[in-house]
């Protein structure tokens, strides 16, 4: 009886699946409910966060948050220096710009960059 699937066919199915994954990744998500937030949109802060006036500072904040061990010294220092502010959970802010993983939002203390995961 002839084999239905040989090794080549199996390999090709994996190749097709890989390219299918590429196609899925390159699909635009802008119409889904999980869409990235757009400038002009009002959003609610879902968790207390640190907003930085400088984009590069916010990148450092995000790096620090990825390895957060409960020590707030670095974040408090930024706030003391006036380069960052605390934004409380529940605050409603308006998006004015976006970057990968970050949003620039308008707050009562000025425009700051925040991690995009901290809004709804």
């Amino acid at each position: 009886m002839k084999k239905l699937f040989n090794f080549r066919t199996l390999t090709m199915l994996f190749v097709i699946a890989f390219f299918g994954l590429l196609a899925a990744g390159s699909d635009d998500d802008s119409s889904s409910s999980q869409t990235s937030k757009q400038p002009g949109e009002k959003v609610t802060i879902t968790t207390n966060t640190i907003g930085c006036f400088s984009k590069s500072d916010e990148k450092d904040v995000m790096r620090m948050l990825n390895h957060y061990d409960g020590d707030d010294t670095y974040f408090n220092q930024l706030i003391d220096e006036g380069t960052a502010i605390n934004i409380s959970e529940g605050t409603v802010v308006q998006i004015i710009d976006e970057a990968f993983g970050m949003l620039k939002v308008d707050t009562t203390e000025g425009a700051v960059w925040i991690p995009s995961c901290s809004v709804n």
Partner: protein, 144 residues
């Protein structure tokens, strides 16, 4: 197939894949699914760095939206020609035609609103052109 030809095919396939992927990662809008995946993998800052370092580069619409598709199809064709021996003519033709045809079909399904997306004739050209070139080469090599 000789080892040299296999290696060359794999290198060319990887290069096309990388080139097409780079256009997507560096120049396409952040609303693509892949950027959420990058975020989940924690490599958003690295991607951001590359995007910002090349933010002064402006690509035309064909390079930005259609060329990556063509490069990915080309990459796929190199892989097929590596995996399937030329003596299995029907099998080779089946796999060579499969992905480009699926892609063309999906493009026309976008045209008729069966699936989400925007029909672009340049995308269709990008899918078909590498296929035609591959078929011409196979014909020239008397494989088909």
């Amino acid at each position: 197939m000789t080892t040299t030809k296999t290696s060359t095919n794999l290198i060319l396939s990887g290069s096309c894949l990388f080139a097409g992927g780079s256009i997507y990662v560096i120049f396409r809008p952040l609303t693509l699914n892949m950027f959420r995946w990058f975020d989940a993998f924690g490599i958003s800052s690295l991607i951001n760095k590359y995007r910002e370092s090349l933010s002064y580069v402006s690509l035309n619409d064909f390079v930005l939206y259609s060329l990556p598709d063509g490069l990915w199809i080309t990459s796929y064709l190199f892989i097929v020609n590596t995996i399937i021996p030329s003596k299995h003519k029907k099998e080779l033709l089946f796999w060579i035609l499969s992905l480009p045809m699926i892609s063309v079909l999906s493009e026309f399904m976008q045209y008729y609103n069966f699936i989400q997306g925007r029909f672009d004739i340049y995308d269709v050209v990008s899918y078909i052109l590498p296929l035609i070139i591959n078929l011409i080469i196979l014909k020239y090599e008397k494989v088909i």
